[in-house]
């Protein structure tokens, strides 16, 4: 009697277990669609930024399907939620590549999520398109960096401040994580190479979501009142920006006195802020919604129609996905297959129009060429472009201003190496195997 009961319960549990396993292992093996993985957090702290990118991808895929799909097949988006949890990013990537067998993944926002995903993508030889500006110092055979490297955002912005606004003193303020750390390091080295004295550079780091800026802003105010023109270069991340700008405004620091140039504040962030206290502060991006080109107007119209809300905005990472997706489509068409190796070979050199009137090109180091724009924030949360680079700037994976990386070079075509040391003529570390 007892044994029977026990056996029965084992049976029940076992059945549910096999059910569990089978639901995890079985994957639809339909060959009539091309699957595209969308790996953006839809919950947790990063949902605020990443949800929009998920919608962008769905829109781009839908649009492509209307045009007849790719290689005669329809595209099928596979959306998962890594929930702003970094190990979960790795797990979901494995799920997308191994279970769902997607042909490309568009996703990630934070550096740490990319770092978490990277080993999995390399192991399973997948493709990842990463759409956010980042700190550089990386080049993987399986990853395409469609956002800006530091030389495509930070350095041109500093050039503008130095040459046009004659800024002499610099506050480098950032959130304490790798992107601001690297950017500020590169900038400090760059500024010093331009003859800025060490005491004219103030570096400050704050934790994520820092909300009490009173004394930091008052320090900045004091630092900026020495008679020399001062500017703040801000790599402050996400949620910390609103209280920061509010405090600046309230303490009476206007954009004419001490302009703030931000690398992480775009149209989307501004749409969640009362932009009044920010007017005149600046941001450096590769794209502004306000840029008046036919491609951009078409993109905006398409987006507003897709999302069904007239108040939504477009921003730089969305453009990066737009470029990345089109590059992937073109490369697949060129290769005639979605096979990773073929696409990796085909995509370098592919050129697609970007939304600011130029043509972006995939480089052998898996970064792309982009224009750099500097805009001033206007009251409606849009940017007024005040400066842009002459042509497109090529993304540089390894910074020339960092000790460890200035000798490194990435070239996946001729050298087949992401970190080739030009001095020792060797490919350091892991190679593509």
């Amino acid at each position: 009697m007892k044994l029977k009961k026990l056996l029965k319960s084992i049976g029940v549990l076992g059945a549910s277990c096999t059910l569990a396993l089978s639901s995890l292992t079985t994957s639809a093996q339909e060959e009539d669609t091309i699957k595209v993985g969308v790996l953006h957090s839809l919950s947790g702290t990063m949902a605020i930024s990443e949800t929009t990118l998920k919608d962008t991808m769905l829109m781009l895929i839908e649009e492509q399907n209307k045009k007849g799909g790719l290689l005669g097949k329809q595209l099928e988006p596979v959306v998962v939620d890594p929930a702003s949890n970094w190990p979960l990013f790795a797990e979901k990537t494995r799920e997308l590549l191994a279970q769902e067998e997607v042909d490309a993944i568009f996703g990630c926002w934070t550096s740490v999520s990319r770092k978490s995903v990277l080993p999995v993508v390399e192991e399973l030889n997948g493709l990842l398109f990463y759409p956010v500006q980042y700190e550089g110092e990386e080049s993987s055979r399986n990853v395409f960096y469609t956002g800006a490297a530091p030389n495509q955002q930070a350095i041109p912005a500093v050039d503008y401040l130095m040459n046009e606004l004659e800024v002499k003193r610099w506050v480098l303020a950032g959130t304490d994580y790798v992107y601001p750390r690297t950017t500020n390091k590169i900038l400090a080295a760059y500024l010093q190479s331009k003859g800025v004295a060490e005491e004219d550079i103030m570096i400050n780091y704050t934790p994520f979501g820092h909300s009490d800026w009173q004394n930091i802003v008052s320090d900045i105010k004091r630092f900026g009142s020495s008679g020399k023109k001062t500017a703040v270069v801000s790599t402050i991340n996400g949620d910390a920006n609103v209280p920061f700008y509010r405090e600046l405004g309230n303490q009476g620091i206007s954009a004419e006195d001490i302009p703030v140039v931000a690398f992480s504040v775009g149209e989307e962030e501004l749409s969640g802020i009362d932009a009044k206290p920010l007017v005149g502060h600046m941001a450096a991006w590769n794209y502004f919604m306000s840029v008046d080109t036919d491609e951009n107007n078409a993109f905006i119209d398409q987006w507003l129609e897709y999302i069904g809300n007239e108040d939504r905005v477009t921003n730089d990472p969305m453009e990066a996905h737009y470029i990345g997706f089109n590059m992937w489509v073109k490369a697949v068409e060129k290769a005639g297959t979605t096979d990773s190796d073929a696409v990796i070979d085909a995509i370098v050199g592919v050129e697609v129009p970007n939304l600011t009137g130029g043509t972006s090109k995939m480089l052998p180091n898996h970064h792309i060429t982009k224009p750099v724009l500097l805009g001033e924030i206007q009251e409606d949360g849009q940017f007024l472009t005040v400066w842009e680079t002459d042509g497109l700037v090529a993304g540089d994976a390894w910074s020339d201003y960092l000790e460890g990386s200035k000798d490194l070079k990435s070239d996946w075509v001729e050298l087949d190496c992401g970190n080739y040391n030009t001095k020792t003529k060797k490919c350091v570390g892991a190679t593509a195997e």
């Binding site: 277990c17 970094w86 770092k115 350091v428 570390g429």
Partner: protein
């Protein structure tokens, strides 16, 4: 006999242990020996997922031991888990050697990146596995001992203890986020290559880690059973039910609590150490107080105060999470949140209690039948 003492009158435990043993035997075979085309093949994805669940289960077991039996609610057990993980991560980082991006034979990439000239002192020794293994046990253990000694001695209990453990893990999280700490800041430790000379991405290594997690869980379960069925275990339960009375009966309440707490922290550390090579990253997010609260929820969902309940809880909640995040990526927090509310309201003894209640109602109805 020992096994008799441990497992008789623990049918649930036997069942759970049996199932774990079964998976430990079946999964490697189904993964390695069965061809991929076969419907019985277990993919590597499922293996890593199960391995992760096993680590979570071990962590849940550690918490259940102190919460379920000694009534010590720790809202900071994730801290011990993460510390164990970091110790393992440091070993794995050192194993990369000169295969990092910058090719530095000694310094991990993130240190080169931040222009560090030499290895900080606390990174020394982690190139040896035995040392790392020792640290996996010692670091969480010592922290728990110091913290517990301070807290139990001044009789910080209940809600207060819960809140200060939360403060502990929160403080550690903020500290580990700092890049100056030398633990890789927000990015944490990642891009591991080898463990004990085996490539970390090889299927056989994954199976090895999976087996190690399974065996660790089973051993830990038996050890916990040993403790709770021993004489000391009785004292511990009596501390939970009436602390002052136990103290007045002449027992050293503080030292019982302290050692149990330390043991639990060590288990959590081991769980973390097994977890890191399987998921491939450790970052300060693991210290987040929310993770620790979630851990409490696993235990409560499974059934607090029964060791196997913790395991059941860890598996079911995490399995639910995996399924929900895939099938309802937009709204998975609704069912998850609802689950927590319902479990506390309807199933105060957790999922395991559900079975118990079912049995009880049967037996009582039987008793009623007897005239």
């Amino acid at each position: 006999m020992l096994t008799q003492r441990l497992l008789t009158s623990d049918k649930g435990g036997m069942l759970v242990l049996g199932l774990i043993a079964l998976t430990c035997i079946l999964v490697p075979i189904l993964n390695l020996a069965v061809p991929e085309s076969s419907p019985f093949h277990v993919s590597t994805f499922a293996v890593t997922l199960l391995g992760k669940f096993l680590c979570y289960a071990l962590l849940a077991l550690a918490l259940d031991l102190i919460w379920g039996y000694a009534g010590i609610l720790s809202l900071g057990h994730g801290a011990f888990f993460a510390l164990g993980g970091y110790a393992m991560g440091m070993y794995l980082m050192r194993q990369i050697g000169d295969r990092g991006k910058y090719g530095d034979p000694l310094l991990p990439d993130f240190m080169v990146f931040l222009n560090w000239q030499e290895l900080p002192w606390y990174w020394h020794g982690f190139d040896m596995f035995w040392f790392a293994a020792l640290m996996i046990v010692l670091v969480p253990g010592i922290l728990a001992w110091v913290f517990g000694w301070l807290a139990f001695r001044s009789r910080v209990t209940g809600v207060y203890f819960a809140i200060i453990t939360q403060a502990l893990t929160y403080a550690l999280m903020l500290a580990f986020f700092r890049n100056e700490m030398g633990f890789g800041g927000n990015n944490g430790l990642t891009d591991f290559k080898d463990i004990l000379g085996f490539s970390i991405t090889a299927d056989s290594t994954r199976i090895g880690l999976f087996l190690a997690s399974g065996i660790a869980l089973m051993l830990a379960y038996l050890a916990c059973r040993y403790i709770v069925t021993s004489r000391a275990g009785k004292v511990i339960v009596s501390i939970r039910d009436a602390e002052s009375r136990t103290r007045f009966s002449g027992y050293q309440v503080e030292s019982y609590k302290l050692w149990l707490f330390v043991f639990s922290a060590v288990l959590a550390g081991i769980a973390g150490a097994l977890y890191v090579p399987q998921v491939g990253i450790i970052n300060p997010g693991e210290f987040s107080p929310l993770n620790s609260i979630e851990l409490v929820v696993w235990v409560a969902t499974g059934g607090r105060g029964t060791l196997y309940g913790a395991i059941v809880g860890a598996f079911s909640v995490n399995y639910g999470k995996t399924v929900f995040t895939t099938f309802y990526p937009e709204a998975w927090l609704f069912p998850l949140g609802l689950l927590f509310v319902l479990v506390t309201l309807v199933l105060p003894k957790g999922l395991v209690g559900l079975i118990g209640r079912f049995k009880k109602s049967k037996s009582t109805s039987k008793q009623e039948e007897q005239p």
